[in-house]
Structure formats: structure tokens, C-alpha cells
Symmetry: C2
Subunit: 198 residues, 2 copies
DNA sequence: GTCTATAGGAAGATAGAC
DNA sequence: GTCTATCTTCCTATAGAC
């Protein structure tokens, strides 16, 4: 195997770990399977990371960054408010449908972090970043469209984050794509009502 | 140790497993720790259950039954529609705050089931039962209060189940109880709007 | 920095006495 | 039906050659 600087190897191993965990689940993913996924031998993992926990910490921060980006990209300002909400949710939902295993992985990592002593702050940070992403989007919309809200920004941001989370998890468990069209319509109508000032 | 019929031992071991898993998390709970929690020796576990998987299957069906009962008890018809929704959610929320570990366990078991070959139907069944509980409640309310709905019953039931799920998970991760009052107000207002026909 | 080989421990499951 | 003792397997992590 080619010799690489440790920082680059760490990045490769982190991405390999994400692929392995999305495929096999967190508890079944071993340092051996990560090494195999990355195409290196087992001891390279322990050379680049002090422990498996340290690698998982890298996985959590990396994948959280990925998904905050996804949310921000999906739900960005468009022509009208209705378009922003509707097209934004469609974009996000398309991502969930295209990468269900990776979305499921974010839930598994949350629970891993909550159960691992010392890792609780990583789980909280993950969910705070989701809420912050929504907060930024709401503030952008307020400025660009001059909206007035029926509820405070932090309340709306947390509500949107929680609702997105619940809808995503329910879809991942139940599948059954056709059943969700009506639910998404209800949700988008509700959100439009919360931010509209008619 | 006293000799008990297998059926009774199975019930004891299932409850012991729920306690151990709520305390330690699913992946860290071993057949040894379950045996210790139940106060029996390791081989009793393997005498009563063919495998650890079979025991976990019993845990999933048992705890799902518990929680469907919780939801049905909490959100039962009361004097007025507003009372039903508001008091119902408060009752449910009180249960989450009183037993966070057990609620977290339901999420862990869902993911365990989705990752374990052959167990996917158990996860789907878990979430279908939640939706069915809401469906029954909505039908009760329709009959006892003569409501007309703005959205079809299955859509409303799934939406309520998903929203409850997301709010619960976000609370379990973030804690911070004071921040949720405004969110619950927003939610209850939305639900009342969906079922009202003013 | 990467490899092979192995130490050391803990898990699920079984054997056989009582 | 329950126990103690053990088998087998697989894990994380390390040692030491290259």
C-alpha cells in the first residue's frame, strides 16, 4: 500500500467507516471491517487512531457536517415562500430516499454517542447543529422576504428540526413511499401557515 | 434458585432484559448481564430461549405493547377537543420525562430490528401499531365529538405518530425541558386546527 | 507508515452434574 | 430447571519485522 500522510489516511478511514457502518450498522462494524473497506491492514487503523472510539468520534463529526450541508442546500430561499418550503422539503426528501442507509446511520450514531460515556456532547451538538441550520434559514427568509412569524424563531427552528427528524425516521422504518405525499402536503401547509402573516 | 415454569421464567427474563437494556443500551447488554439482572445463572437464559435473538424478539414485542398502551391511555377522549389534545400530550410528555431511558430503548430496538436479518417486520410492526393507536383515537373522537377532519384519517394518524416520535427523540437528545413548552403549544394548536371544522 | 502475527479478553452457546 | 465449567469464536489492541 502507498504511504500517505496520517491526516489523509484518517480521512480515508473515516469515509470507509461511514460506508461500512451505513451498510452493516454501527454495532456490527469492527475495526477489521473498516480496514478491509479502506483496503489497508488492521494495524493501520490503530496507527492513525488511538482507539476505535476516536475513529467513531471522527465519523460522528464528519457525517453531522455532511447532513447539515444537505439540509441547508435543500431548504434554501427560492422565488416565493410556498416554493421555498415545498421545493425545499422535496429536495430533502429526495436525499432521504436516495440514501436511506446513511440517514439511518445518523440515528444510530446519535444513540451510540448517548450511550458512550463522554460522548453525550457529540449527540447534543449533532442536534443543535440541525436546529442552527433551520435558524439560519429562517433568518434568511425573514430578511429576503420580509416575513413576520407567528412563533419565536427558536421555537420554529426546533419544531422543524424535530418534525423532519420524526418524518424521516418513520419513513425509514415503514418505507411505503406513496403514503407520504399527503403527509408532506399537510406539513408544508402548516409551515407556510406558521410563517405567513396574512 | 426456585424452579419456575418456563413461561414464567421467560416473562421474568424479558423484563430483566428491558431493565438491563434501558440502563446499559442494547449493544452493551449481554446474556450474562441479563442473567445477573434476573438473578439466575447464564445457562437459564439459554434454556428458556433458543438464542439471544429470540429473547430480544420477546423484548421488542413486549415493550411495543407497553408503549401502545401508554399512548392510548395518555391521549384518550376528554371533555372538549382542546382538552383532549392538550391534556393528552401533557400526559404523554410526562411519561417521557419520567422514563427517558425506556423511551430511548424503543428507538434502539427499532434500529436493532432493522439491522438484524429477518427482524425488519418487527420494526415495521412497532411503528404500525403506533399509527393504529392514533387511528383508533381519532375514530373515537370523531364519533364522540362529531368532528370532521381537514385531512384523511390515515394521513393524520401517521403525521401525529411521526411528530410525536421526532419531538420525543429531540427531547431525549437535547434535554432542556424549558425550551419545549412553546413547541408543544404550537403542536397542539396545529392539531386542533387540523381536526376542527370551524 | 505499513505489514504479519499474536496477545488478551469477552461474548454466545453447550456439556454434564445435580 | 438450574447450576458450574468450558468450548469456540471474534473482538480491540499491541509487538516487532520491513
Amino acid at each position: 500500500m502507498a504511504r500517505l500522510p496520517s491526516a489523509e489516511r484518517r480521512r480515508q478511514l473515516t469515509e470507509a467507516a461511514i460506508r461500512a457502518m451505513a451498510r452493516d450498522g454501527v454495532p456490527r462494524t469492527t475495526t477489521r471491517s473498516i480496514a478491509a473497506e479502506a483496503g489497508v491492514s488492521l494495524s493501520v487503523v490503530h496507527y492513525c487512531f488511538d482507539s476505535k472510539q476516536q475513529l467513531i468520534e471522527s465519523v460522528i463529526t464528519t457525517i453531522t457536517g455532511h447532513y447539515v450541508t444537505v439540509v441547508k442546500e435543500a431548504i434554501r430561499p427560492r422565488n416565493t415562500l410556498e416554493d421555498t418550503v415545498r421545493v425545499g422539503f422535496q429536495a430533502y426528501w429526495g436525499h432521504v430516499r436516495a440514501h436511506p442507509d446513511e440517514h439511518m446511520l445518523t440515528y444510530e450514531l446519535t444513540q451510540y454517542a448517548l450511550r458512550q460515556p463522554g460522548f453525550e456532547p457529540l449527540a447534543r451538538r449533532q442536534y443543535e447543529l440541525y436546529a442552527e441550520a433551520y435558524t439560519e434559514l429562517i433568518d434568511q427568509l425573514r430578511q429576503s422576504m420580509g416575513l413576520r412569524l407567528r412563533v419565536p424563531v427558536p421555537v420554529l427552528a426546533r419544531y422543524l428540526a424535530a418534525m423532519t427528524d420524526g418524518l424521516t425516521l418513520n419513513f425509514l422504518v415503514l418505507g411505503d413511499e406513496s403514503a407520504w405525499a399527503g403527509i408532506l402536503d399537510t406539513v408544508t401547509a402548516h409551515i407556510a401557515g406558521l410563517v405567513h402573516d396574512d
